[in-house]
């Protein structure tokens, strides 16, 4: 296990290097004068040239790239016009909020999605199944920002039960989590349902039932563990949605995470900030997938031979 973990961790820096390189090149293609944007609307020509030199924009591309990488090794992401310096400390301050949102979305997905799927599978084609399947279809089509707005309209404006903004205690986490997790719950519920149905068709289930075990025990003791790997893998596959969706949900609910900051950076054309946050999202994606793989290994030792 340790060797696997080490090998995965070793692969990350090159991947991140690749991501940084691609993004660096993409942002170099931006039309317009970056020094001008950094200096601001009221700067004189002399000031713009000073900033151009300070940011190293007057050097050849390769030199800029090299300097950028060198800075990254020290945790310096460059000059952000919003923070007038290295944006990293400010970004890191906001990471916990995004992590909290993501973690609670995953939690809700597991806690609601898996039981819903099992329920649907055990009552196949009856009312419960139809309800679950119907909801799944709905939540897979519904845009998360619209769902969020509806939740605000009903729970916050209408019933005044929940606050509709900011990170202000546990109850402010409810609506953002629901808006973000809805799609994931749908995916996991559908997956679980399918897996359970398939498992239940297998001979060993019939044998177990014939031996006198209750359906309940069969489901939880035998069927579910076999289904865990695909479920966790599916969660990993949806890591991209989780992180991307967080951006929209954060903006809607004024949730002080890095997604909201990314949009702020777009608003002021702060490319350094945008690049830094995008790289962090990539890192988050890699770590999430690593976590998924590790959990799968832990759950099913048989996979360790790989």
């Amino acid at each position: 296990m340790a060797r696997y973990l080490a090998s995965r961790l070793l692969v990350m820096p090159p991947i991140l290097l690749g991501v940084v390189t691609i993004l660096f090149l993409i942002f170099k293609m931006v039309p317009g004068d970056q020094a001008l944007l950094a200096a601001g609307a009221t700067a004189t020509q002399a000031e713009i040239e000073t900033i151009r030199h300070q940011l190293g924009l007057d050097r050849p591309l390769l030199a800029q790239y090299g300097a950028h990488l060198l800075g990254l090794l020290h945790g310096d992401f460059g000059y952000s016009t919003m923070f007038r310096g290295n944006p990293l400390p400010h970004i890191l301050e906001r990471v916990p909020a995004t992590l909290t949102l993501a973690a609670s979305a995953i939690l809700v997905t597991i806690v609601i999605g898996i039981p819903a799927g099992i329920l649907a599978a055990s009552r196949q084609n009856r009312l419960a199944d139809l309800l679950v399947s119907g909801s799944v279809t709905a939540f897979l089509s519904v845009p998360n920002f619209w769902l969020g707005m509806l939740l605000i309209a009903i729970l916050s404006v209408g019933l005044r039960w929940l606050p509709s903004f900011g990170f202000d205690g546990l109850h402010s986490l409810v609506m953002p989590t629901l808006a973000l997790a809805a799609r994931l719950v749908a995916i996991i519920a559908r997956l679980t349902r399918g897996l359970v149905i398939e498992e239940m068709r297998k001979p060993y289930v019939r044998t177990a039932l014939a031996k006198g075990l209750t359906m309940h025990r069969v489901l939880w003791r035998h069927v579910l563990p076999n289904a865990m790997i695909p479920i966790i893998t599916a969660l990993g596959l949806e890591a991209g949605y989780l992180l991307g969706g967080a951006v929209v949900v954060e903006r809607l609910f004024a949730w002080p995470g890095i997604g909201d900051l990314l949009l702020g950076g777009i608003g002021v054309r702060d490319y350094t900030l945008i690049l830094a946050i995008t790289v962090l999202f990539a890192l988050g994606f890699l770590l999430l997938n690593l976590a998924v793989d590790l959990v799968c290994l832990a759950v099913n030792p048989r996979l360790r031979n790989g």
Partner: protein, 277 residues
């Protein structure tokens, strides 16, 4: 290829509602201006934010325009923002994936590396970054959604083509001296067609969601274009005093995504039950 078309027809005919829905959508996209009850840009400053009524089935928006008319005429641009990138992604993704999967070796590895790198960046975040570069306009949106849709498709095709490469008829074709393009287009790709078509339908649904999300965030097309996501973003602040402005565009988006998802699911069930989750 013919299989794919037949399957699509069957998937659609099995579900009457889907056919009607698809027809409506296409109708709106093509004939929107004719079918809409009002001019989608016609403002009535005396009728701001009116609730749904007989005159305005979905109410009016913040500058007095009929929301239903805007939804109908907006079908075209909302769908174009999704379908054009998906078509482009299909073209680029299939080409890249097929070439990589077929040639193998270092080409395969290099393209795999590029795909993996791009897929490390969450789709919407990558789209936002592209829009930041190209600009918040139709070109930017198309570029952004294309870039975020291409890698997963390319990867899928790559895997499928790798599989197909091992088939006997391919080896036979090589022995017979057929050239690469001919092998790819006449023999390999048709067998991957089912995978491609299913994936494109699902990607279309994704593209609508990403496109409308960008519109909602204000990174979409220029006003007064009636793109559904932008309509939601613009009317968000009125949710308290006029909730109706928020319901209709969101519902429209959900229905469009639903349609694409159903198409994809139907095709998948028909073609390859093993592929379903």
């Amino acid at each position: 290829m013919a299989e794919a078309v037949i399957a699509a027809r069957r998937a659609l005919s099995r579900n009457r509602f889907l056919v009607i829905g698809a027809a409506l959508l296409l109708g709106f996209a093509v004939f929107g201006e004719v079918l809409a009850p009002y001019d989608p840009d016609a403002q009535d400053l005396l009728a701001l934010l009116e609730a749904p009524s007989l005159a305005h089935w979905c109410g009016t928006d913040e500058v007095g325009r009929d929301i239903l008319s805007r939804l109908i005429t907006g079908t075209r641009i909302t769908m174009m923002i999704a379908l054009l990138p998906v078509a482009l992604a299909g073209l680029i993704g299939v080409s890249l994936g097929a070439v990589a999967g077929y040639l193998g070796g270092s080409v395969d590895r290099a393209i795999s590396a590029l795909i993996e790198l791009l897929m490390t960046i969450p789709g919407l975040v990558l789209a936002i970054a592209i829009v930041a570069v190209v600009g918040a306009n139709a070109a930017g949106l198309v570029a952004a959604i294309t870039v975020s849709s291409t890698p997963p498709l390319a990867r899928l095709i790559q895997a499928r083509v790798r599989e197909l490469r091992q088939e006997d008829y391919v080896s036979a074709a090589i022995v017979l001296g057929f050239r690469l393009p001919r092998i790819l287009f006449l023999h390999v790709l048709p067998n991957a067609a089912s995978v491609i078509v299913i994936q494109l339908s699902l990607l279309a649904g994704q593209a609508v969601l990403i496109g409308s999300a960008l519109g909602f965030l204000g990174l979409g097309v220029q006003p007064p274009a009636p793109e559904w996501g932008s309509m939601l973003g613009a009317s968000r602040q009125y949710i308290e005093i006029a909730p109706h402005v928020v319901i209709a565009p969101g519902l429209a988006i959900a229905l469009l995504v639903f349609a694409f998802n159903m198409l994809g699911d139907g095709l998948r069930d028909r073609f390859d039950p093993n592929l379903s989750a």
